[in-house]
Protein backbone atom coordinates (compact mmCIF):
# COMPACT_ATOMS: atom_id res chain seq x y z
CA UNK A 1 0.00 0.00 0.00
CA UNK A 2 1.59 3.30 -1.09
CA UNK A 3 0.39 6.44 0.64
CA UNK A 4 -0.64 9.14 -1.83
CA UNK A 5 0.57 12.72 -1.69
CA UNK A 6 -2.39 13.95 0.40
CA UNK A 7 -1.85 11.18 2.92
CA UNK A 8 1.87 11.95 3.11
CA UNK A 9 1.24 15.65 3.69
CA UNK A 10 -1.38 14.90 6.35
CA UNK A 11 1.09 12.61 8.08
CA UNK A 12 3.75 15.35 8.00
CA UNK A 13 1.23 17.80 9.40
CA UNK A 14 0.43 15.45 12.29
CA UNK A 15 4.14 15.13 13.06
CA UNK A 16 4.74 18.91 12.82
CA UNK A 17 7.17 18.66 9.92
CA UNK A 18 5.21 20.52 7.24
CA UNK A 19 7.10 23.34 5.49
CA UNK A 20 5.26 26.49 4.42
CA UNK A 21 5.26 25.33 0.76
CA UNK A 22 3.86 21.95 1.83
CA UNK A 23 1.24 23.65 3.99
CA UNK A 24 0.05 25.64 0.96
CA UNK A 25 0.09 22.46 -1.13
CA UNK A 26 -2.02 20.64 1.45
CA UNK A 27 -4.49 23.54 1.58
CA UNK A 28 -4.79 23.46 -2.22
CA UNK A 29 -5.26 19.68 -2.30
CA UNK A 30 -7.97 19.78 0.38
CA UNK A 31 -9.67 22.77 -1.18
CA UNK A 32 -9.77 21.17 -4.62
CA UNK A 33 -10.93 17.65 -3.90
CA UNK A 34 -13.80 16.15 -1.93
CA UNK A 35 -11.88 12.85 -1.81
CA UNK A 36 -8.86 14.59 -0.26
CA UNK A 37 -11.08 16.19 2.40
CA UNK A 38 -12.63 12.82 3.19
CA UNK A 39 -9.18 11.29 3.44
CA UNK A 40 -8.11 14.11 5.77
CA UNK A 41 -11.20 13.74 7.98
CA UNK A 42 -10.64 9.98 8.26
CA UNK A 43 -6.97 10.52 9.18
CA UNK A 44 -7.95 13.12 11.78
CA UNK A 45 -10.60 10.79 13.20
CA UNK A 46 -7.91 8.15 13.74
CA UNK A 47 -5.54 10.82 15.11
CA UNK A 48 -8.25 11.88 17.59
CA UNK A 49 -8.95 8.30 18.65
CA UNK A 50 -5.23 7.77 19.32
CA UNK A 51 -5.05 10.99 21.34
CA UNK A 52 -8.09 9.95 23.41
CA UNK A 53 -6.64 6.51 24.00
CA UNK A 54 -3.25 7.84 25.15
CA UNK A 55 -4.71 10.73 27.18
CA UNK A 56 -6.84 8.22 29.07
CA UNK A 57 -3.96 5.84 29.86
CA UNK A 58 -1.01 6.69 32.10
CA UNK A 59 2.22 7.42 30.23
CA UNK A 60 4.63 4.52 29.84
CA UNK A 61 7.44 6.83 28.80
CA UNK A 62 10.08 7.82 31.37
CA UNK A 63 9.21 11.47 31.83
CA UNK A 64 8.81 12.79 28.33
CA UNK A 65 8.40 16.58 28.26
CA UNK A 66 5.09 17.35 29.93
CA UNK A 67 2.22 19.10 28.15
CA UNK A 68 2.82 22.81 27.81
CA UNK A 69 -0.20 24.21 29.52
CA UNK A 70 -2.01 21.72 31.68
CA UNK A 71 -5.26 23.53 32.32
CA UNK A 72 -7.87 22.46 34.84
CA UNK A 73 -11.08 21.07 33.38
CA UNK A 74 -13.58 23.88 33.65
CA UNK A 75 -16.70 21.82 33.68
CA UNK A 76 -19.06 20.70 36.42
CA UNK A 77 -18.02 17.04 36.62
CA UNK A 78 -17.41 17.47 40.36
CA UNK A 79 -19.90 14.88 41.62
CA UNK A 80 -18.64 12.16 39.27
CA UNK A 81 -15.09 13.04 40.13
CA UNK A 82 -15.81 12.92 43.84
CA UNK A 83 -17.10 9.34 43.48
CA UNK A 84 -14.10 8.34 41.33
CA UNK A 85 -11.77 10.08 43.75
CA UNK A 86 -13.28 8.18 46.66
CA UNK A 87 -12.66 4.86 44.92
CA UNK A 88 -9.04 5.81 44.18
CA UNK A 89 -8.54 6.96 47.77
CA UNK A 90 -9.92 3.68 49.15
CA UNK A 91 -7.68 1.73 46.80
CA UNK A 92 -4.65 3.72 47.87
CA UNK A 93 -5.44 3.10 51.55
CA UNK A 94 -6.04 -0.64 51.21
CA UNK A 95 -3.17 -1.39 48.87
CA UNK A 96 -0.52 0.97 50.31
CA UNK A 97 2.98 -0.54 50.58
CA UNK A 98 5.80 0.66 52.83
CA UNK A 99 8.02 3.14 50.99
CA UNK A 100 9.11 6.75 50.88
CA UNK A 101 7.14 9.18 52.98
CA UNK A 102 6.15 12.82 52.74
CA UNK A 103 3.22 14.63 54.32
CA UNK A 104 1.19 17.59 53.16
CA UNK A 105 1.55 19.87 56.17
CA UNK A 106 0.05 23.04 54.77
CA UNK A 107 -1.81 24.17 51.70
CA UNK A 108 -4.88 25.55 50.05
CA UNK A 109 -5.30 23.76 46.73
CA UNK A 110 -7.51 21.77 44.38
CA UNK A 111 -6.37 18.65 42.55
CA UNK A 112 -6.69 18.32 38.79
CA UNK A 113 -9.92 16.70 37.59
CA UNK A 114 -9.59 12.93 37.55
CA UNK A 115 -6.35 13.07 39.55
CA UNK A 116 -5.62 11.20 42.78
CA UNK A 117 -7.24 13.09 45.67
CA UNK A 118 -4.95 14.83 48.15
CA UNK A 119 -5.50 16.13 51.68
CA UNK A 120 -3.39 17.13 54.66
CA UNK A 121 -1.30 14.13 55.77
CA UNK A 122 0.63 11.40 53.99
CA UNK A 123 0.70 11.38 50.19
CA UNK A 124 0.65 8.14 48.19
CA UNK A 125 4.07 7.00 46.90
CA UNK A 126 4.90 6.11 43.30
CA UNK A 127 1.61 7.61 42.11
CA UNK A 128 1.31 10.52 39.66
CA UNK A 129 -0.12 13.48 41.61
CA UNK A 130 -1.18 16.91 40.48
CA UNK A 131 -2.74 20.10 41.75
CA UNK A 132 -4.74 22.41 39.51
CA UNK A 133 -4.82 25.53 41.70
CA UNK A 134 -3.29 26.89 44.89
CA UNK A 135 -0.19 25.55 46.59
CA UNK A 136 0.86 22.98 49.19
CA UNK A 137 3.83 22.23 51.41
CA UNK A 138 5.32 18.73 51.62
CA UNK A 139 7.35 17.91 54.72
CA UNK A 140 9.77 14.95 54.83
CA UNK A 141 10.98 12.96 57.88
CA UNK A 142 14.36 14.78 57.66
CA UNK A 143 12.64 18.16 57.96
CA UNK A 144 13.11 19.04 54.29
CA UNK A 145 10.17 21.03 52.93
CA UNK A 146 8.95 21.55 49.37
CA UNK A 147 6.43 24.24 48.48
CA UNK A 148 4.62 23.25 45.26
CA UNK A 149 2.71 25.79 43.23
CA UNK A 150 -0.12 24.87 40.83
CA UNK A 151 -0.45 23.83 38.11
CA UNK A 152 1.96 21.12 39.12
CA UNK A 153 2.52 17.40 38.38
CA UNK A 154 4.73 15.47 40.79
CA UNK A 155 5.44 12.06 42.26
CA UNK A 156 7.06 10.64 45.40
CA UNK A 157 9.43 7.92 44.13
CA UNK A 158 12.29 7.75 46.66
CA UNK A 159 12.94 8.60 50.29
CA UNK A 160 13.94 12.24 50.83
CA UNK A 161 13.30 13.07 47.17
CA UNK A 162 10.57 14.39 44.90
CA UNK A 163 10.08 13.97 41.18
CA UNK A 164 8.76 17.21 39.67
CA UNK A 165 7.35 16.57 36.19
CA UNK A 166 5.82 20.01 35.59
CA UNK A 167 5.37 23.13 37.71
CA UNK A 168 7.16 25.19 40.32
CA UNK A 169 8.79 24.08 43.54
CA UNK A 170 10.68 25.88 46.31
CA UNK A 171 12.87 23.57 48.39
CA UNK A 172 14.14 24.21 51.92
CA UNK A 173 16.60 21.75 53.46
CA UNK A 174 17.44 22.68 57.08
CA UNK A 175 20.52 21.23 58.83
CA UNK A 176 20.12 17.44 58.85
CA UNK A 177 18.21 17.38 55.56
CA UNK A 178 21.22 17.88 53.27
CA UNK A 179 21.18 15.48 50.34
CA UNK A 180 17.49 15.98 49.56
CA UNK A 181 16.98 15.39 45.82
CA UNK A 182 14.59 17.14 43.48
CA UNK A 183 14.42 15.08 40.29
CA UNK A 184 13.18 16.64 37.03
CA UNK A 185 12.83 15.40 33.42
CA UNK A 186 16.30 16.75 32.54
CA UNK A 187 18.37 16.75 35.73
CA UNK A 188 18.66 16.24 39.48
CA UNK A 189 19.05 19.00 42.06
CA UNK A 190 20.88 17.77 45.16
CA UNK A 191 20.36 20.07 48.11
CA UNK A 192 23.42 20.83 50.22
CA UNK A 193 21.46 22.70 52.89
CA UNK A 194 19.77 25.58 51.19
CA UNK A 195 16.69 27.25 49.75
CA UNK A 196 16.26 27.08 46.03
CA UNK A 197 13.50 27.32 43.43
CA UNK A 198 12.86 25.23 40.32
CA UNK A 199 10.39 25.75 37.48
CA UNK A 200 9.84 22.79 35.16
CA UNK A 201 8.17 23.69 31.87
CA UNK A 202 8.52 23.05 28.18
CA UNK A 203 9.14 24.83 24.89
CA UNK A 204 6.44 22.72 23.26
CA UNK A 205 8.55 19.64 22.64
CA UNK A 206 11.49 19.62 25.06
CA UNK A 207 11.73 20.32 28.77
CA UNK A 208 12.97 23.76 29.88
CA UNK A 209 13.97 23.87 33.57
CA UNK A 210 14.85 27.06 35.41
CA UNK A 211 16.44 27.20 38.84
CA UNK A 212 17.69 29.82 41.25
CA UNK A 213 19.48 29.39 44.58
CA UNK A 214 18.15 31.77 47.24
CA UNK A 215 20.46 30.63 50.06
CA UNK A 216 23.25 28.06 50.44
CA UNK A 217 24.37 25.61 47.74
CA UNK A 218 22.93 23.00 45.42
CA UNK A 219 24.48 20.50 43.01
CA UNK A 220 22.94 19.98 39.56
CA UNK A 221 23.43 16.66 37.84
CA UNK A 222 22.37 16.21 34.19
CA UNK A 223 22.88 13.19 31.90
CA UNK A 224 25.23 15.01 29.53
CA UNK A 225 27.18 17.53 31.64
CA UNK A 226 29.47 17.21 34.66
CA UNK A 227 27.90 18.01 38.05
CA UNK A 228 27.74 21.75 38.66
CA UNK A 229 27.62 23.57 42.00
CA UNK A 230 25.29 26.56 42.27
CA UNK A 231 25.73 29.03 45.11
CA UNK A 232 23.58 31.69 46.73
CA UNK A 233 22.24 34.01 44.00
CA UNK A 234 23.22 31.74 41.10
CA UNK A 235 20.62 30.78 38.54
CA UNK A 236 20.61 28.48 35.55
CA UNK A 237 18.41 26.86 32.92
CA UNK A 238 18.61 23.27 31.68
CA UNK A 239 17.71 23.12 28.01
CA UNK A 240 17.02 19.66 26.60
CA UNK A 241 17.13 18.36 23.09
CA UNK A 242 16.32 14.68 22.75
CA UNK A 243 18.47 12.91 25.32
CA UNK A 244 21.11 15.60 25.65
CA UNK A 245 20.86 18.69 27.80
CA UNK A 246 22.93 21.79 28.44
CA UNK A 247 23.12 24.35 31.21
CA UNK A 248 22.90 28.04 30.35
CA UNK A 249 23.09 31.11 32.59
CA UNK A 250 20.67 33.28 30.63
CA UNK A 251 17.64 32.71 28.43
CA UNK A 252 16.98 34.71 25.29
CA UNK A 253 19.72 37.15 26.43
CA UNK A 254 17.94 37.80 29.76
CA UNK A 255 18.92 36.65 33.27
CA UNK A 256 16.94 33.88 34.98
CA UNK A 257 14.89 34.82 38.06
CA UNK A 258 12.34 32.89 40.09
CA UNK A 259 10.07 34.39 42.69
CA UNK A 260 10.21 32.68 46.07
CA UNK A 261 6.56 32.93 47.03
CA UNK A 262 3.51 30.96 45.96
CA UNK A 263 1.64 33.12 43.51
CA UNK A 264 -1.95 32.01 43.19
CA UNK A 265 -4.67 34.41 44.21
CA UNK A 266 -7.45 33.00 46.37
CA UNK A 267 -10.40 32.53 44.00
CA UNK A 268 -12.47 35.68 44.38
CA UNK A 269 -15.96 34.81 43.18
CA UNK A 270 -16.80 38.49 42.95
CA UNK A 271 -14.10 39.00 40.32
CA UNK A 272 -16.19 38.98 37.14
CA UNK A 273 -13.10 38.57 34.94
CA UNK A 274 -11.78 35.41 36.62
CA UNK A 275 -11.50 32.63 34.03
CA UNK A 276 -13.18 34.71 31.32
CA UNK A 277 -11.81 34.67 27.74
CA UNK A 278 -9.40 37.40 26.69
CA UNK A 279 -8.55 38.30 23.12
CA UNK A 280 -5.63 40.30 21.81
CA UNK A 281 -4.34 41.10 18.32
CA UNK A 282 -0.99 39.57 19.29
CA UNK A 283 1.30 38.52 22.09
CA UNK A 284 4.95 37.88 22.74
CA UNK A 285 6.37 34.54 21.61
CA UNK A 286 10.08 33.90 22.19
CA UNK A 287 12.20 30.72 22.28
CA UNK A 288 12.39 28.24 25.18
CA UNK A 289 8.72 28.35 26.12
CA UNK A 290 8.61 32.15 26.52
CA UNK A 291 5.02 32.52 25.36
CA UNK A 292 2.64 35.00 27.00
CA UNK A 293 -0.95 34.72 25.68
CA UNK A 294 -3.75 37.00 26.91
CA UNK A 295 -5.79 34.35 28.75
CA UNK A 296 -3.05 34.53 31.41
CA UNK A 297 -4.63 37.86 32.41
CA UNK A 298 -7.69 36.25 33.99
CA UNK A 299 -6.25 32.93 35.18
CA UNK A 300 -5.95 33.92 38.87
CA UNK A 301 -2.17 33.36 38.87
CA UNK A 302 -0.19 36.40 39.94
CA UNK A 303 3.27 37.93 40.31
CA UNK A 304 4.90 36.85 37.01
CA UNK A 305 4.80 33.23 38.13
CA UNK A 306 4.45 30.02 36.09
CA UNK A 307 6.93 27.90 34.19
CA UNK A 308 8.34 27.93 30.64
CA UNK A 309 5.47 27.33 28.25
CA UNK A 310 2.91 28.26 30.91
CA UNK A 311 3.75 31.69 32.33
CA UNK A 312 1.06 33.53 34.27
CA UNK A 313 1.21 36.97 32.62
CA UNK A 314 0.53 38.66 29.28
CA UNK A 315 3.18 40.43 27.20
CA UNK A 316 2.52 42.33 23.97
CA UNK A 317 4.62 41.43 20.92
CA UNK A 318 8.15 42.87 20.93
CA UNK A 319 8.31 46.66 20.54
CA UNK A 320 4.50 47.09 20.73
CA UNK A 321 2.31 48.72 23.39
CA UNK A 322 -0.40 46.10 22.80
CA UNK A 323 -4.04 45.78 23.80
CA UNK A 324 -6.50 43.10 24.85
CA UNK A 325 -10.23 42.69 25.40
CA UNK A 326 -11.86 40.74 28.23
CA UNK A 327 -15.20 39.14 27.31
CA UNK A 328 -17.35 38.91 30.44
CA UNK A 329 -19.65 36.59 28.43
CA UNK A 330 -22.72 38.70 29.22
CA UNK A 331 -23.59 42.29 30.13
CA UNK A 332 -22.43 42.99 33.69
CA UNK A 333 -22.68 46.02 35.96
CA UNK A 334 -19.13 47.08 36.84
CA UNK A 335 -17.66 49.86 38.97
CA UNK A 336 -14.10 48.80 39.83
CA UNK A 337 -11.10 47.43 37.94
CA UNK A 338 -7.97 46.18 39.66
CA UNK A 339 -4.69 45.80 37.74
CA UNK A 340 -1.42 44.05 38.54
CA UNK A 341 1.51 45.14 36.39
CA UNK A 342 4.33 42.88 35.18
CA UNK A 343 8.09 43.32 35.19
CA UNK A 344 8.62 40.26 33.00
CA UNK A 345 9.99 38.11 35.84
CA UNK A 346 12.26 40.87 37.19
CA UNK A 347 14.05 41.13 33.87
CA UNK A 348 12.29 44.47 34.15
CA UNK A 349 12.22 45.25 30.44
CA UNK A 350 8.44 45.24 29.89
CA UNK A 351 5.25 46.47 31.53
CA UNK A 352 2.43 48.97 31.20
CA UNK A 353 3.00 52.65 31.97
CA UNK A 354 0.01 54.65 30.63
CA UNK A 355 -3.19 52.94 29.60
CA UNK A 356 -6.81 53.52 28.59
CA UNK A 357 -9.80 51.29 29.25
CA UNK A 358 -12.87 51.27 27.01
CA UNK A 359 -16.08 49.26 27.33
CA UNK A 360 -18.67 47.88 24.96
CA UNK A 361 -21.72 45.66 24.87
CA UNK A 362 -21.27 44.48 21.27
CA UNK A 363 -17.47 44.40 20.79
CA UNK A 364 -17.87 46.94 17.99
CA UNK A 365 -18.69 50.30 19.49
CA UNK A 366 -16.49 51.15 22.51
CA UNK A 367 -16.92 53.94 25.08
CA UNK A 368 -13.89 55.41 26.94
CA UNK A 369 -13.96 54.58 30.66
CA UNK A 370 -10.58 55.27 32.27
CA UNK A 371 -7.18 56.67 31.42
CA UNK A 372 -4.49 55.90 33.99
CA UNK A 373 -0.88 55.11 34.85
CA UNK A 374 0.65 52.05 36.49
CA UNK A 375 3.95 52.34 38.37
CA UNK A 376 6.85 50.08 37.50
CA UNK A 377 7.20 46.90 39.58
CA UNK A 378 10.05 47.29 42.09
CA UNK A 379 12.71 44.88 40.84
CA UNK A 380 14.60 44.42 44.13
CA UNK A 381 11.97 42.64 46.23
CA UNK A 382 11.40 39.26 44.56
CA UNK A 383 9.86 37.66 47.64
CA UNK A 384 7.00 40.19 47.87
CA UNK A 385 3.69 39.98 46.03
CA UNK A 386 3.24 42.57 43.30
CA UNK A 387 0.80 45.38 44.23
CA UNK A 388 -2.67 45.72 42.71
CA UNK A 389 -3.85 49.17 41.63
CA UNK A 390 -7.57 49.89 41.82
CA UNK A 391 -9.57 52.19 39.55
CA UNK A 392 -13.18 52.97 40.48
CA UNK A 393 -15.89 54.65 38.44
CA UNK A 394 -19.69 55.10 38.54
CA UNK A 395 -21.58 51.86 37.92
CA UNK A 396 -21.87 51.08 34.22
CA UNK A 397 -22.89 48.11 32.10
CA UNK A 398 -20.42 46.29 29.85
CA UNK A 399 -19.69 42.90 28.39
CA UNK A 400 -16.37 43.71 26.68
CA UNK A 401 -13.60 45.54 28.55
CA UNK A 402 -10.75 46.67 26.32
CA UNK A 403 -7.35 47.55 27.85
CA UNK A 404 -5.14 49.66 25.58
CA UNK A 405 -1.49 50.23 26.52
CA UNK A 406 -0.59 53.82 25.60
CA UNK A 407 3.07 53.60 26.64
CA UNK A 408 5.26 50.89 28.13
CA UNK A 409 8.30 50.56 30.37
CA UNK A 410 11.70 49.57 29.03
CA UNK A 411 14.83 48.38 30.78
CA UNK A 412 15.61 51.10 33.37
CA UNK A 413 19.38 51.19 33.06
CA UNK A 414 20.12 49.80 29.62
CA UNK A 415 18.38 51.80 26.88
CA UNK A 416 19.87 49.54 24.21
CA UNK A 417 18.35 46.40 25.83
CA UNK A 418 17.05 44.36 22.93
CA UNK A 419 13.44 43.72 23.97
CA UNK A 420 10.54 45.81 25.22
CA UNK A 421 6.74 45.86 25.07
CA UNK A 422 3.58 46.44 27.07
CA UNK A 423 2.33 43.75 29.43
CA UNK A 424 0.18 43.04 32.46
CA UNK A 425 0.01 40.25 35.02
CA UNK A 426 -3.69 40.24 35.97
CA UNK A 427 -6.92 42.16 35.49
CA UNK A 428 -9.79 41.87 37.97
CA UNK A 429 -13.20 43.41 37.33
CA UNK A 430 -15.84 43.96 40.03
CA UNK A 431 -19.32 45.31 40.39
Amino acid sequence: MTPDRTETLIHMMLDHSLSEAERIELNDLLRGSQAARESYLRAIAIHGALIRKCDAAPSSLPFAAPPVAAKPLRFPFKKLLAIAAGIVLMASVFFAKPGPRADITDGDFTVSPGATPLALGKIPARTPLSIASGSLTLTYPSGAQVLLEAPCHFQLDEKEALTLVHGRASVYAPPGAQGFVLDTPSGKFIDLGTRFGVAVGSDGSDAVILSEVFEGEVNIETPSEPMRLLRNGDSTAILSSGRSSRLVNSLDSSPIHLSRSASNAPADRKNLALGKPVFSPGYCVRPHGSIFPPDNLTDGRLNDSGVPGDWSFWLAPDYENGEFTVDLMQDEIISRISLQNTSNRFINDRGTENFAIEISSDNKSFTPLIVGTLPRIEPDKPEQAFPFHEFTFPETTARYVKFIVLSHYRHPTNPSHQHHSGGLSEIQIFR
Binding site: A43, S60, L73, S202
Partner: protein, 174 residues
Protein backbone atom coordinates in the same frame (compact mmCIF):
# COMPACT_ATOMS: atom_id res chain seq x y z
CA UNK B 1 -29.02 27.19 50.32
CA UNK B 2 -27.23 25.90 47.26
CA UNK B 3 -29.07 26.11 43.95
CA UNK B 4 -29.98 22.80 42.41
CA UNK B 5 -29.48 22.45 38.67
CA UNK B 6 -32.56 22.84 36.49
CA UNK B 7 -33.87 19.97 34.40
CA UNK B 8 -32.42 21.52 31.23
CA UNK B 9 -29.02 21.94 32.87
CA UNK B 10 -29.08 18.29 33.93
CA UNK B 11 -29.97 17.23 30.40
CA UNK B 12 -27.24 19.40 28.95
CA UNK B 13 -24.61 17.91 31.26
CA UNK B 14 -25.62 14.42 30.16
CA UNK B 15 -25.55 15.40 26.50
CA UNK B 16 -22.20 17.17 26.78
CA UNK B 17 -20.67 14.16 28.53
CA UNK B 18 -22.23 11.80 25.99
CA UNK B 19 -20.86 13.77 23.03
CA UNK B 20 -17.38 14.67 24.35
CA UNK B 21 -15.63 12.46 21.81
CA UNK B 22 -17.70 13.82 18.90
CA UNK B 23 -16.96 17.39 19.96
CA UNK B 24 -13.26 16.55 20.29
CA UNK B 25 -13.27 14.94 16.85
CA UNK B 26 -14.94 17.98 15.27
CA UNK B 27 -12.65 20.52 16.94
CA UNK B 28 -9.53 18.50 16.13
CA UNK B 29 -10.54 18.34 12.46
CA UNK B 30 -10.36 22.15 12.35
CA UNK B 31 -7.47 22.58 14.82
CA UNK B 32 -5.16 19.55 14.55
CA UNK B 33 -2.97 20.91 17.39
CA UNK B 34 -3.63 18.52 20.30
CA UNK B 35 -3.23 21.00 23.15
CA UNK B 36 -5.15 23.76 21.42
CA UNK B 37 -8.00 21.40 20.51
CA UNK B 38 -8.16 20.29 24.14
CA UNK B 39 -8.35 23.92 25.31
CA UNK B 40 -11.08 24.69 22.79
CA UNK B 41 -13.05 21.64 23.92
CA UNK B 42 -12.96 22.94 27.51
CA UNK B 43 -14.05 26.39 26.36
CA UNK B 44 -16.86 24.84 24.33
CA UNK B 45 -18.02 22.79 27.32
CA UNK B 46 -18.20 25.95 29.37
CA UNK B 47 -20.11 27.87 26.70
CA UNK B 48 -22.58 25.00 26.27
CA UNK B 49 -23.11 24.86 30.02
CA UNK B 50 -23.72 28.61 30.11
CA UNK B 51 -26.13 28.35 27.16
CA UNK B 52 -28.12 25.46 28.65
CA UNK B 53 -31.23 27.64 28.94
CA UNK B 54 -31.17 28.32 25.18
CA UNK B 55 -31.21 24.64 24.22
CA UNK B 56 -34.44 23.29 22.77
CA UNK B 57 -34.62 19.62 23.87
CA UNK B 58 -36.94 18.81 20.96
CA UNK B 59 -34.06 19.45 18.54
CA UNK B 60 -30.90 17.34 18.08
CA UNK B 61 -28.08 18.31 20.44
CA UNK B 62 -24.97 17.75 18.33
CA UNK B 63 -25.62 20.26 15.49
CA UNK B 64 -26.49 22.87 18.14
CA UNK B 65 -23.30 22.11 20.09
CA UNK B 66 -21.08 22.09 16.98
CA UNK B 67 -22.18 25.63 16.15
CA UNK B 68 -20.70 26.84 19.44
CA UNK B 69 -17.63 24.66 18.94
CA UNK B 70 -17.09 26.31 15.56
CA UNK B 71 -17.21 29.80 17.12
CA UNK B 72 -14.72 28.71 19.78
CA UNK B 73 -12.43 27.35 17.05
CA UNK B 74 -12.61 30.68 15.24
CA UNK B 75 -11.81 32.57 18.44
CA UNK B 76 -8.86 30.25 19.14
CA UNK B 77 -7.51 30.72 15.62
CA UNK B 78 -7.76 34.45 16.08
CA UNK B 79 -5.91 34.43 19.38
CA UNK B 80 -3.43 31.58 19.25
CA UNK B 81 -0.18 31.31 17.41
CA UNK B 82 0.04 27.61 18.30
CA UNK B 83 -2.16 26.63 15.33
CA UNK B 84 0.04 28.82 13.08
CA UNK B 85 -3.00 29.06 10.82
CA UNK B 86 -2.36 25.70 9.26
CA UNK B 87 -5.53 25.95 7.21
CA UNK B 88 -6.79 29.03 5.40
CA UNK B 89 -10.13 30.51 6.53
CA UNK B 90 -12.10 29.35 3.49
CA UNK B 91 -10.83 25.79 3.95
CA UNK B 92 -11.79 25.83 7.64
CA UNK B 93 -15.32 26.84 6.67
CA UNK B 94 -15.44 24.06 4.10
CA UNK B 95 -14.08 21.43 6.52
CA UNK B 96 -16.53 22.59 9.19
CA UNK B 97 -19.41 21.96 6.78
CA UNK B 98 -18.32 18.38 5.99
CA UNK B 99 -20.54 15.75 7.64
CA UNK B 100 -18.91 13.58 10.32
CA UNK B 101 -18.10 10.29 8.64
CA UNK B 102 -18.57 8.19 11.77
CA UNK B 103 -19.27 8.58 15.46
CA UNK B 104 -16.12 9.03 17.49
CA UNK B 105 -17.03 6.14 19.80
CA UNK B 106 -17.26 3.76 16.82
CA UNK B 107 -13.87 4.99 15.68
CA UNK B 108 -12.42 4.37 19.17
CA UNK B 109 -13.67 0.77 19.10
CA UNK B 110 -12.35 0.16 15.57
CA UNK B 111 -8.99 1.61 16.61
CA UNK B 112 -8.78 -0.78 19.57
CA UNK B 113 -9.41 -3.76 17.32
CA UNK B 114 -6.91 -2.61 14.71
CA UNK B 115 -4.20 -1.79 17.27
CA UNK B 116 -4.46 -5.39 18.46
CA UNK B 117 -3.79 -6.57 14.89
CA UNK B 118 -0.61 -4.51 14.51
CA UNK B 119 2.78 -6.17 15.07
CA UNK B 120 3.92 -5.54 18.68
CA UNK B 121 6.78 -3.16 17.73
CA UNK B 122 4.47 -1.08 15.51
CA UNK B 123 1.83 -0.90 18.24
CA UNK B 124 4.45 0.18 20.76
CA UNK B 125 5.78 2.86 18.41
CA UNK B 126 2.44 4.43 17.49
CA UNK B 127 1.27 4.48 21.13
CA UNK B 128 4.59 6.00 22.21
CA UNK B 129 4.14 8.71 19.54
CA UNK B 130 0.79 9.67 21.07
CA UNK B 131 1.95 9.90 24.69
CA UNK B 132 1.53 13.51 25.86
CA UNK B 133 4.69 15.49 25.12
CA UNK B 134 6.30 12.81 22.90
CA UNK B 135 8.11 14.01 19.78
CA UNK B 136 9.49 12.25 16.71
CA UNK B 137 12.96 13.48 17.73
CA UNK B 138 12.75 11.91 21.21
CA UNK B 139 11.27 8.67 19.91
CA UNK B 140 13.98 8.36 17.26
CA UNK B 141 16.55 8.33 20.08
CA UNK B 142 14.37 5.96 22.15
CA UNK B 143 13.98 3.51 19.27
CA UNK B 144 17.56 3.97 17.96
CA UNK B 145 16.45 5.27 14.57
CA UNK B 146 16.96 8.48 12.62
CA UNK B 147 13.99 10.90 12.86
CA UNK B 148 13.39 10.44 9.14
CA UNK B 149 13.30 6.65 9.35
CA UNK B 150 11.01 6.82 12.35
CA UNK B 151 8.68 9.21 10.54
CA UNK B 152 8.45 6.86 7.55
CA UNK B 153 7.67 4.02 9.97
CA UNK B 154 4.87 6.08 11.52
CA UNK B 155 3.48 6.89 8.07
CA UNK B 156 3.28 3.17 7.26
CA UNK B 157 1.62 2.39 10.58
CA UNK B 158 -0.95 5.14 10.04
CA UNK B 159 -1.69 3.78 6.55
CA UNK B 160 -2.13 0.24 7.93
CA UNK B 161 -4.39 1.50 10.70
CA UNK B 162 -6.45 3.49 8.22
CA UNK B 163 -6.95 0.48 5.95
CA UNK B 164 -7.88 -1.77 8.87
CA UNK B 165 -10.26 0.78 10.42
CA UNK B 166 -12.01 1.41 7.12
CA UNK B 167 -12.55 -2.32 6.76
CA UNK B 168 -13.84 -2.59 10.33
CA UNK B 169 -16.25 0.30 9.90
CA UNK B 170 -17.61 -0.90 6.56
CA UNK B 171 -18.20 -4.40 7.90
CA UNK B 172 -19.92 -3.03 11.03
CA UNK B 173 -22.18 -0.87 8.84
CA UNK B 174 -22.98 -3.73 6.43
Amino acid sequence: MPESPTKTEGQIVNLIVQHQHDLHHYILSLLPDRALASDVLQETNLVLWNKAHEFDPSRPFLPWALTFAFYQVKAARRDSSRDRHLFDDDLIASLAAEPMDCEADLMDKALENCLRKLPRTQRKLILARYQPGASVQDLAAEFSQTPNALSIGLLRIRSSLKACIEQQLSSSQA
